[in-house]
């Protein structure tokens, strides 16, 4: 069961007021160039079918209710990925009166993929990490209390493609 959980992460993508940059990168991660389906990743259209919630955007005040509803609609075991710098810190929109971020105020986040926007390979790395966390958590039967994981080239741990392109 653990193997199956970690090998079949289905995503639900939720935009909580993003500028669309991260959304494009998330779709790029599923496109032929990066092909996340090799890891069993599918972008699902209903939160009821998903395992992992991918949130982009700094969580505007109007999006809070929607984020919580969608999080509750995902059947357990589930994990949350915050894609981009916005849901992690509210980024350049910090102190805006229209925001009610960051995301961690409202739902527990397992993996942060920082970057503005993050590279698709960093997003895939984040999804793989979230799938591992999901399987581990389901096996132990309780929510993980440890610190969230941060992945991607923005945190000093460059992905292979990012590193090779940086050298060129």
């Amino acid at each position: 069961m653990c193997t199956c959980r970690s090998k079949s992460p289905w995503l639900f993508h939720m935009n909580s007021g993003s500028c669309n940059g991260c959304d494009i990168e998330l779709i790029a991660a599923l496109s032929p160039r990066y092909d996340a389906e090799q890891l069993g990743v599918l972008l699902k259209t209903s939160p009821r079918h998903a395992d992992i919630l991918c949130v982009t955007g700094p969580v505007t005040a109007k999006a809070v209710g929607a984020v919580k509803t969608v999080y509750d609609q995902i059947p357990g075991p589930k994990a949350v990925i915050a894609i981009g710098s916005c849901p992690a810190t509210t980024n350049v929109f910090i102190d805006s009166r229209t925001l009610d971020g960051p995301l961690e105020k409202h739902i527990p986040v397992d993996v942060f993929v920082p970057g503005c926007p993050p590279r698709p390979d960093a997003i895939i790395q984040g999804v793989a990490k979230a799938a591992e966390i999901l399987a581990e958590r389901a096996a132990k039967g309780q929510p993980a209390a440890k610190l969230p994981v941060i992945v991607g080239d923005a945190c000093g741990e460059p992905c292979s493609r990012a590193a090779s392109e940086g050298q060129q």
């Binding site: 069961m1 193997t3 199956c4 959980r5 090998k7 079949s8 289905w10 032929p32 092909d35 389906e37 090799q38 069993g40 699902k44 259209t45 209903s46 009821r48 079918h49 395992d51 059947p75 357990g76 075991p77 389901a138």
Partner: protein, 312 residues
């Protein structure tokens, strides 16, 4: 190969080959073939071989929300009913020539093939999601449009050879009319299996997940399985009509699986090469373009024996 124990033969057909024991792994295999073929067409590598199995087991382990009342019971029932009838349809396929047991009947097979589609319509409406209702309405319209052609094609095949027994049909020699009928059946398959260009009912992204929007965990796993079994049953019906009856059982089984594989590949390639049609275009395609040929085939099939009888 003949057995003297009709009951054992019948049970073996229902439970082992081409029934459940064969059909469930085969359903996963052909779901993988479909996804892999689409991935290769798009220049991707695609999912690993075990992916549909991983998905199924994972979905079985998800929590399902409590749904009180009749709606909850219905929502549990529809996927099971769809799965059971698709499995029954697979069990009826006349792959191995057998003397005893329950001889497959074409009308029963068609009825069983139609049940999953009706379950999807009912399932969408009983989930009370607006997107599911739109999906169900589309499924109903699509079902009305392709089924006319599908049934006419089957009737023309059966009437031309004067039998509704599947075993007898599979054993009879091929005529040009039968090939026309098989062609019409293949044209109907993308709509029956919700593939592009007729993927309207479960139009991904457009109406969320269509009738399946509210289904969670084990229920969704059953839907996926029934979809896989539908693949086997529908392509298997065509394979049974194409394959000449072969006495050696393992060659018959191999040819059967080979032809299903070819049809699945063909449908996946068509699906990845086309875009989704709107509902009016889909209905027009079946009722204006295809119906003419299917109707013609049925008329020829029924008229030929009558004309032959009129001749002195």
């Amino acid at each position: 190969m003949t057995f003297d124990y009709p009951l054992i033969t019948a049970l073996a057909r229902l439970l082992i080959f081409p029934g459940l024991l064969f059909a469930i792994p085969a359903a996963w295999f052909f779901l993988w073939v479909e996804r892999k073929a689409v991935a290769l067409m798009q220049g991707r590598i695609g999912p690993p071989f075990m992916q549909p199995f991983y998905d199924f087991v994972k979905m079985m382990g998800k929590t399902t929300p409590q749904r009180p009342g009749a709606a909850g019971v219905l929502m549990r029932m529809w996927p099971l009913l769809a799965m059971a009838s698709a499995a029954g349809a697979v069990g009826l396929l006349p792959v191995l020539p057998s003397q005893g047991g329950f001889q497959g009947d074409l009308i029963l097979l068609l009825a069983l093939l139609e049940v999953p589609s009706m379950c999807i319509i009912a399932a969408g409406f009983s989930s009370r999601s607006i997107f599911a209702e739109i999906g169900s309405a589309r499924e109903a319209i699509l079902s009305v449009s392709y089924n006319v052609v599908f049934l006419l094609a089957i009737i023309s095949i059966a009437a031309a050879q004067n039998t509704f027994s599947l075993g007898a049909l599979a054993a009879l020699p091929h005529t040009p009319l039968r090939w026309l009928g098989i062609l019409a059946l293949i044209v109907c398959l993308p709509a029956k299996l919700h593939l592009n260009p007729f993927s309207l009912p479960n139009a991904e992204q457009e109406i969320y997940a269509g009738p399946m929007t509210e289904y969670v965990g084990a229920e969704l796993a059953m839907w996926e399985l029934s979809h896989g079994l539908e693949w086997i049953a529908a392509t298997g019906l065509i394979a049974a009509l194409i394959v000449p009856s072969i006495a050696t059982w393992w060659i018959a089984a191999l040819v059967f699986v080979g032809i299903i594989f070819a049809i699945v590949l063909l449908l996946s390639v068509v699906a990845s090469a086309t875009a989704r049609l709107a509902i009016d275009s889909s209905v027009r395609f079946y009722w204006q373009c295809t119906l003419l040929f299917a109707g013609l085939a049925a008329v020829i099939a029924i008229a030929t024996p009558v004309l032959a009888r009129l001749k002195p």
